[in-house]
């Protein structure tokens, strides 16, 4: 029975199996989606891709806040005359079937007029008539078919930002001008002495001039701005010689055609700008479905249920909550503010905030911190601090989050650019001085020629193409970088710090050990039956591993939320739950997650849940340990110190019980003489991730939350981290090699320039040739070294 997979979502149908329409489903949810699809003529969904569905989650009252008009108003893009347009982010979009079914939403409800999927961004844009339909109904409909939208506080705050497409325009302008100027200047390349051509030379020249105007003043504008900014802050960045080159090219060419000295270099000028922009465009690869800027806002809900003075429930936007308000937290909801527990069994999972993996039990009157997730039942809490002043959210007030890592980092290109500029200027001045004495009429010609030919087009292209291609290669192996700058920073890393929970351990606790008196067969069967009725995560994992096939009907079942479960059958009873519930305790009990078992009120033993380390973690540390320092920063207690020491190199620094701020400070301390790589997964690492030179966030499912970071790495590829680091270093070597190569072109070009023989046709050949060969060289080299990533 192991190989039966759900017809809808493709999961194993081991635990429960639902038969419907001669097809197997893993749960009732999947069956329902299948029913919805088939009855609405959407059964094609299953033909486009097999088992492509997603099992729907139970929703209940989660989206009640969408009944609130103010909130809806903020979320919809357009709302007039009974028509609303909304853009929703749906993380579970993953295949062509998804696109198909989501673009046919109008078959499921007649009020939906249009729906359009943006696959790379994983968003859907729905237009609907708001008369007999609402945003809430739409969200519930989407959730019912397994495409639950992700609506968070972040969305609520989002301003309608305009997409910046200026680079595409500039590229278009430059390419357009480049092509036309090339055509116009073609006859001049051959210096044909023909009456007809000679007669129209000025016309073609002035046309070229006209086409180059938008290239210089619009497409190439950024280079002038950047060079000016660089000079003002006394920095010679790579844009200085580029801007100088563009300017000289333009002025010299204009002078040339005015005084009829030659045809000018308009072809090289437009080509140069076009290639440079192409490099910029290539570098600008973004993973639009990922967010690298997330903070607590994308983790928090938009609204909560508040109890007003009369005890009625109302949905309130989260920023409107004040100290003293009473709010309701339902099962699996996030506590958005620091508060005091009034009513209910609080079992709170703080793993995201502190890294502590065990759920914490709280009693009425105790303080609850924002960011915890309630695991069992409904809570009533009284707010102590507003959202922005809560303990967790205050971390984002730290100045680290405003620091821009890119501006603080000097790239290889810029540091080369500085030396290059000085070199070019000295060659230009020296050769001009020489010609001033030898043949003064040539001096200006030589000076401009040197600046033109030395324009570091190839150097400026080497980094964007190498790093841009590497970024794509990394992306194919599920290592998503924020930008190409991260690769350069990765190459300098000499210290790697890891978070423990969720980073080097899996989030599901698979390793379960039993300690105590062995359970009899009857007891195991009874225990399994009892656990079957419980929805607690620990019960479920325990249920999966117990070996017993007997399914019985219990005489009595009781679940004490936050404490444990009790089952009775034929006068035998079994209890499973926390130590205090069973009334027993074993040594070293505090630091472990365990389920205690008693049969007929006799304590039997306990199941200990150990964090399971990801496969290959040991190898990872051995490989990394050879080249760099390693450290572990955990928010968890030190219950697993021994286990960790066994798998880690002996020099490793192990720190436990670290608060988010401690982690940040530790990284800062290390940065005094190291370049630090921080690998983490939760909000508690956010400070350290922002402070570190490179912050990598580990994620089991890249679509769900990950804190602000420089890179997101899929958990399955964690063991490839050393290879990624190595490839980053190799990429820098490739860039250096390409610099050498382009220097050769420059030397050849300078020979023509210094000797005063630079003809436009030579410049027109040399410039594209060097650029194209650099692009080919870097692409081939990166693809070659990228092959190492193949398993």
């Amino acid at each position: 029975m192991t190989n039966i997979r759900c017809y809808h979502c493709g999961d194993d149908c081991n635990r429960t199996r639902v038969l419907f329409d001669e097809k197997e489903f893993c749960c009732n949810g999947c069956k329902t989606v299948y029913e919805i699809f088939t009855t609405n003529g959407l059964s094609n969904f299953y033909d486009i891709e097999e088992r492509a569905g997603t099992a729907p989650n139970e929703i209940r009252q989660k989206y009640d806040f969408l009944g609130n008009k103010d909130i809806v108003e903020k979320l919809v893009e357009f709302n007039e005359e009974g028509v609303q347009v909304v853009n929703l982010s749906i993380p579970s979009i993953h295949c062509s079937s998804c696109i198909w079914v989501l673009e046919n939403l109008n078959r499921l409800h007649s009020s939906i007029t249009n729906s359009q999927v943006d696959f790379p961004k994983k968003t859907i844009r729905v237009t609907y008539k708001s008369e007999d339909f609402s945003l809430k109904a739409l969200v519930l409909l989407l959730s019912a078919i397994g495409y639950e939208p992700y609506i968070s506080l972040e969305e609520y705050n989002k301003k309608n930002t305009k997409v910046d497409r200026s680079l595409i325009y500039k590229l278009g302008v430059a390419g357009f001008a480049f092509g036309n100027v090339m055509l116009f200047s073609f006859p001049e390349y051959f210096e044909v002495e023909e009456f007809w051509l000679d007669q129209y030379k000025p016309v073609f020249r002035w046309l070229m001039f006209a086409f180059s105007l938008p290239v210089v003043f619009y497409a190439g504008r950024d280079y002038f701005i950047s060079a000016y900014k660089g000079l003002r802050s006394k920095l010679l960045n790579i844009d200085v010689p580029i801007a100088l080159g563009i300017l000289t090219l333009f002025l010299r060419s204009t002078v040339d055609i005015i005084f009829d000295l030659g045809s000018g270099f308009f072809d090289s000028l437009t080509g140069l700008v076009f290639f440079l922009l192409l490099g910029k465009f290539f570098q600008q690869k973004t993973y639009s479905f990922l967010s690298f800027e997330r903070d607590y806002k994308s983790y928090f809900p938009i609204a909560v249920t508040r109890l007003n003075a009369e005890g009625e429930e109302e949905n309130v936007q989260i920023y409107k909550i004040k100290a003293g308000d009473r709010i309701l937290i339902r099962n699996m909801e996030i506590i958005p503010v620091d508060s005091i527990l009034i009513k209910g069994n609080a079992e709170i999972d703080y793993s995201f905030v502190t890294g502590e993996s065990n759920a914490v039990l709280k009693e009425s009157g105790e303080k609850l911190f924002a960011g915890g997730k309630q695991l069992s039942g409904v809570l009533e809490i009284e707010v102590v601090k507003s959202v922005s002043q809560s303990y967790l959210t205050q971390l984002w007030g730290n100045s680290v989050f405003e620091k821009d890592k890119i501006t603080a980092f000097q790239t290889l290109t810029d540091s080369i650019g500085k030396r290059f500029t000085i070199g070019v200027l000295s060659v230009a001045i020296l050769s001009t001085l020489f010609w001033l004495f030898y043949m003064p009429s040539m001096a200006l010609n030589v000076f401009t020629a040197v600046l033109i030919i030395a324009c570091p087009c190839a150097i400026a292209l080497a980094a964007p193409f190498t790093l841009g291609n590497m970024l794509r290669i990394f992306g194919k192996h599920k290592f998503y970088l924020k930008n190409t700058n991260v690769i350069e920073r990765l190459s300098k890393i000499d210290t790697a710090i890891f978070d423990k929970t969720g980073t080097i351990t899996t989030t599901t606790k698979d390793a379960i050990l039993y300690e105590g008196i062995e359970l009899t067969k009857a007891e195991t069967a009874l225990l399994k039956t009892t656990l079957r009725s419980s929805n607690h995560p620990l019960s479920r994992s325990l249920y999966e591993i117990l070996k017993s096939n007997a399914i019985m009907t219990l005489d009595e079942f009781e679940e004490h939320t936050g404490k444990g479960v009790e089952g009775k059958l034929n006068k035998h009873s079994i209890k499973a739950g926390s130590a205090s519930y069973i009334g027993e305790s074993m040594p070293n009990a505090a630091s472990d997650t365990a389920v205690y078992i008693s049969s007929d009120e006799d304590f039997k033993g306990r199941f200990v849940f150990k964090n399971k380390y990801r496969d290959g973690v040991e190898d990872l540390f051995v490989t990394l340990g050879k080249t760099m320092n390693i450290g572990i920063l955990s928010g968890d207690n030190d219950g697993e110190r021994k286990q960790l020491q066994d798998i880690l190199p002996s020099k490793t620094n192990l720190l436990f019980n670290q608060k988010p701020k401690d982690k940040l400070d530790y990284v800062k301390h290390l940065q005094k003489d190291h370049n630090v790589l921080m690998v983490g997964d939760g909000l508690n690492d956010a400070g350290a991730l922002a402070q570190s030179n490179v912050g990598v966030s580990i994620s089991e499912d890249i679509n769900v939350f990950s804190p602000a970071c420089d890179a997101i790495l899929d958990a399955s590829n964690l063991t490839k981290l050393p290879v990624f680091l190595k490839l980053s270093r190799k990429s820098i070597q490739i860039i250096k090699l390409s610099f050498l190569l382009s220097l050769c072109y420059n030397v050849i070009g300078l020979y023509f320039a210094v000797t005063g023989q630079l003809e436009p046709v030579i410049a027109a050949i040399l410039m594209p040739l060097s650029s194209i060969s650099i692009v080919i060289f870097t692409t081939l080299m990166t693809n070659m070294i990228g092959k190492r990533l193949k398993p």
Partner: protein, 69 residues
């Protein structure tokens, strides 16, 4: 006036028309999502078999949708 001016004017205006088309398409956001339309155009066939059962209103919507892409 020489014919070359006429030819130049024609060729440049043709080029400018295409350039304008490019600018227009960027402005409309046609380069924002370069993946989904490639998948979407393959689905037009899948819709046809049961279109007849649909109400005329829905048919219209679908037709306008397909021409938009």
């Amino acid at each position: 006036m020489s014919v070359i001016y006429v030819l130049l004017a024609i060729s440049i205006s043709v080029a400018l028309v295409f350039f304008a088309a490019f600018v227009f398409s960027v402005k409309r956001g046609q380069y924002d999502d370069s993946y989904t339309p490639s998948v979407r155009m393959l689905f037009e066939d899948e819709l046809l078999p049961d279109l007849d059962k649909e109400e005329p209103e829905n048919k219209e919507i679908k037709l306008t949708k397909s021409t938009n892409q």
